[in-house]
Amino acid sequence: MNCNRLFHRLLFITAALFCCMAIVSPASAKDTIKIGVLHSLSGTMAISETTLKDTILMLVDEQNKKGGLLGKKIEAVVVDPASNWPLFAEKARELIEKDKVAAVFGCWTSVSRKSVLPVFEELDNLLFYPVQYEGEESSKNVFYTGAAPNQQAIPAVDYLMNEIGVKRWVLAGTDYVYPRTTNKILQAYLKSKGVADADIMINYTPFGHSDWQSIVADIKKFGTAGKKTAVVSTINGDANVPFYKELGNQGITADNIPVIAFSVGEEELSGIDTKPLVGHLAAWNYFMSVNDPANDEFIENWHTFIKNPNRVTNDPMEAHYIGFNMWVKAVEKAGTTDAGAVQDAIIGVTVPNLTGGYSAMMPNHHITKPVLIGEIQEDGQFEVVWQTPGLVVGDAWSDYLPGSKDLISDWRAPLKNGNFKVTK
């Protein structure tokens, strides 16, 4: 019996804890516009997503200082989906139905986005998704402010091929949907450029993989065949640190086998001893080191807001910056926060980005961005070594995959379709 009582007590405590976590800032005035922030504050993804929550809070704060929106204050409703994919859908429903938010800024992993997608479509709300992703998706309710593969992966490979003269390719990734799709696109792209099968090595590893010895040794062997070799890395999250450490220890430096990463930014580097990584590359649409007045101001505001002058900024933060400003502008244009009206108004909206240019929302719900290639420096920052001459339009459906080649996405009337098949 004693055991039963204790078990009940445990249950009670757990329940109480969950209640505490669920109740977040209930104070709500009537004349505010609410937006939802759907980022994990606990669990595996907390490492990346907590920063994005703070970014939105800062942007809301600034907008309110400027007088709010449509004469009302904006109020951010923060929930914690705890890196738990089904919980993302639950929390999204809660934000829309209970809190009646006008738009939601959130998600990081593709699987969390896929999990909330039906909720947003069913309840017809807006999601601004700030992270680079694998493409092959277009929804009426989702705005993709991160990079599509043609805004990150393809230009990166072009850079290596044309500027560095890479002939042999290692595509290394974590085993889930983003790396698998991106690598499929890259493989098709490389083959279309005449790279032989024998010169492409593809490798997948589990989440959080920490023993990279044999894989790095394989890469080393693959790279000593006489042709210039590079690694294109879609390795995600925590697995990067041991990967780069192993590269350093086995003596692979950027000048013999450069590694270009799509998921390693300033935030990730702040947890690594960067000395052995100097010279390895990353492809993003924004770097903290970009010399631009708008960027300087953003960084300064961020440091004041977070009260820590050592915190870094990164690409998904810029995506949120662009996405939030686009939403604000679209609401002002439409004169209402009604989802349908904003969806129509936001297409064509142009706002400044942080790299000295402008980004526009395209009819396929992707945005225009410049693509930058940076080399890792000893201080954990990137030095831009190359960038696309102009802006690149995000492509929802890749031109290099057989199934999606013929699809276009256009959310303007009269087409209003996310996967319209164009017959040749």
Binding site: N203, D218, I272, D273
Partner: protein, 542 residues
């Protein structure tokens, strides 16, 4: 072909070497040289990378005595320019201040803040060029070992006139090591350019060499149309090289396996005590490892200039912190749940979540960077294709040391005796005067402390973050169950063999499938032999 004339005239040698050094780059009159050097320096301060390369080429051409110092400072990131008048300076950082020395006015030393100077940024292209130039410069001085390394670095990247200079250098060289290296470099070139006879003797020279450039040279030679004799000999040598590469590949995989296994043993051995000896299913074991890793980080923050010392201090430090945490968990929670495995499992799982979130609140959810001391970075190069990474070697021996220490504690100390007594028959031990509950707490503390020590090792390999523990808990249970619950030898053998098996399967199946295959094997093994590799014998087994 290669005779060895011993030079007895060091002065002459020096002059010859200098002349050859000059032959690499077209010579310039002294005045013009100084001007070129200055112009080159000026170009370094420009933003465009191509201008920087031009500037560097000019600097190298000028043959200024500072060239080598300048190039290596640039490569190391110690070269800056002043914001105000664009003067290139060497700078070293200490306590947020920079001490600068002018390149042209090298007697002027100044203390400046970080705002007034800017680092001269370089990209991979420049880095590569710098390394090439430095290797060339290093051919002419320095200890033989470094000169030989410089030659090996140049293999496969040599232009014909460089080979000629190497031939001259070979004639003058006295050190056997450097001669060997030079001979290899020249022989690789002969494979491309020489006549049949020269090729044959070059092949003899290359017989045992494992350097990748040799292999590429041989493959190219075989694909060429040459005489049958050359073809035959080249094929034979290539085969021999390949079989040696395969052999060293096997050794490498074995090392990888043992090292992966030693990590498993380190993570699991604490659990072998808590789970194996006192039967507590401790789901918070991973978080005790995490606490050890964070302790390492904290100690390193306290001693930022003594990385090696910090790591050494972290071992006892992490042991104490984790052991105390373990004792607190045992006294406050587990003690009430002995004999009820399911509740223990749930409660300790709860503890693990609490500890993870506590770390997120205290240290932030971001990972912490733990730096490696010098003696744990880089690798031990045994030959051109087999090199063992230092951190793995250190951790392997550390694992053996921890195992040995634990084994001694269990077999030779009175605590060990009491622990074994309590685990074999609690009632009887109490009747004999063993304070069972104190022994429980100490045993749990010991197991937790070992987990903390494992955390110190893991902080050198992987992320120090809130999720560190989760990654190792399943593997730890796997090792303990496979090895036989309650048996330290079993844990050691199980960890090492699982690690090795994993690494030998990985090349064929990929990392994901390798893990699955090992898990399936363990499931089948446990079906057949539930007591594991080394079951406890006697009455205690029941």
């Amino acid at each position: 072909m290669f005779t060895s004339p011993k030079s007895r005239f060091p002065a002459l040698l020096f002059i010859l070497a200098f002349a050859m050094y000059a032959a690499f780059f077209e010579g310039l009159p002294a005045n013009a040289a100084a001007r070129t050097f200055d112009q080159g320096l000026e170009k370094l301060t420009q933003k465009d990378f191509n201008n920087k390369i031009q500037g560097l080429e000019q600097i190298v051409q000028s043959k200024d005595p500072q060239v080598e110092k300048l190039l290596s400072a640039l490569l190391e990131g110690d070269l800056y320019y002043t914001q105000k008048d664009k003067e290139v300076v060497y700078a070293t950082k200490s306590d947020g201040q920079y001490t600068t020395t002018g390149v042209l006015s090298n007697d002027v030393t100044q203390q400046v803040g970080s705002r007034s100077i800017r680092k001269i940024g370089i990209n991979n292209n420049i880095r590569k060029k710098l390394k090439g130039w430095l290797s060339l410069l290093q051919l002419y001085h320095g200890p033989p070992r470094e000169r030989a390394d410089a030659v090996y670095r140049l293999l496969g990247k040599l232009s014909p006139d460089m080979v000629d200079s190497l031939k001259d250098l070979y004639e003058q060289e006295t050190s056997h090591k450097v001669r060997q290296a030079l001979a290899t470099a020249i022989a690789i070139d002969t494979l491309k350019t020489g006549n049949n006879e020269a090729k044959l003797s070059a092949l003899s020279q290359l017989k045992g060499s494992l350097h990748p450039a040799v292999k590429t040279g041989l493959i190219n030679l075989i694909n060429e149309k040459t005489s049958e004799q050359v073809q035959k000999k080249a094929t034979k040598i290539l085969q021999r090289i390949e079989s040696r590469i395969a052999f060293y590949g096997f050794l490498e995989t074995l090392f990888f396996g043992l090292s992966a296994g030693s990590i498993l043993v380190l993570a699991a051995i604490g659990l072998a005590i808590t789970f194996g000896v006192i039967g507590v299913i401790n789901m918070a074991h991973g978080e005790l490892i995490m606490i050890g890793a964070y302790t390492t980080w904290v100690i390193q923050q306290l001693l930022p200039h003594h990385l090696g010392l910090a790591i050494c201090l972290a071992v006892p430090g992490a042991f104490l912190v984790s052991a105390l945490s373990g004792i607190v968990i045992e006294r406050s929670i587990i003690r009430f749940l002995y004999g009820r495995p399911l509740e223990t499992l749930l409660a300790t799982f709860g503890v693990s979540l609490v500890l993870q979130q506590a770390v997120r609140s205290v240290f932030s959810p971001l990972n912490r960077a733990v730096s490696a001391p010098d003696w744990m970075s880089g690798s031990l190069v045994l030959n051109p294709i087999l090199s063992l990474t230092m951190n793995r070697i250190v951790i392997f021996f550390f694992c053996l040391f921890v195992f040995g220490a634990l084994f001694l504690i269990m077999k030779k100390t009175s605590l060990g005796l009491q622990v074994r007594a309590v685990s074999q028959n609690r009632a009887m031990a109490r009747a004999m005067g063993v304070p069972a509950s104190r022994v429980d707490a100490l045993t749990f503390g010991l197991g937790s402390g070992i987990a903390g020590v494992a955390g110190v090792a893991l902080s050198q390999l992987t992320n120090v973050g809130p999720n560190l523990g989760q990654a190792y808990i399943i593997d730890s249970f796997m090792v303990v169950v496979f090895g036989g619950v309650g048996n330290l030898w079993g844990t050691l053998l199980a960890g090492l063999s699982l690690g090795t098996a994993n690494k030998f399967i990985e090349p064929f199946s990929g990392a994901v499938l390798a893990k699955i295959i090992v898990l399936v094997f363990i499931i089948l093994f446990i079906q057949k032999r539930p007591q594991g590799l080394f079951p406890q014998k006697g009455r205690a087994a029941g």
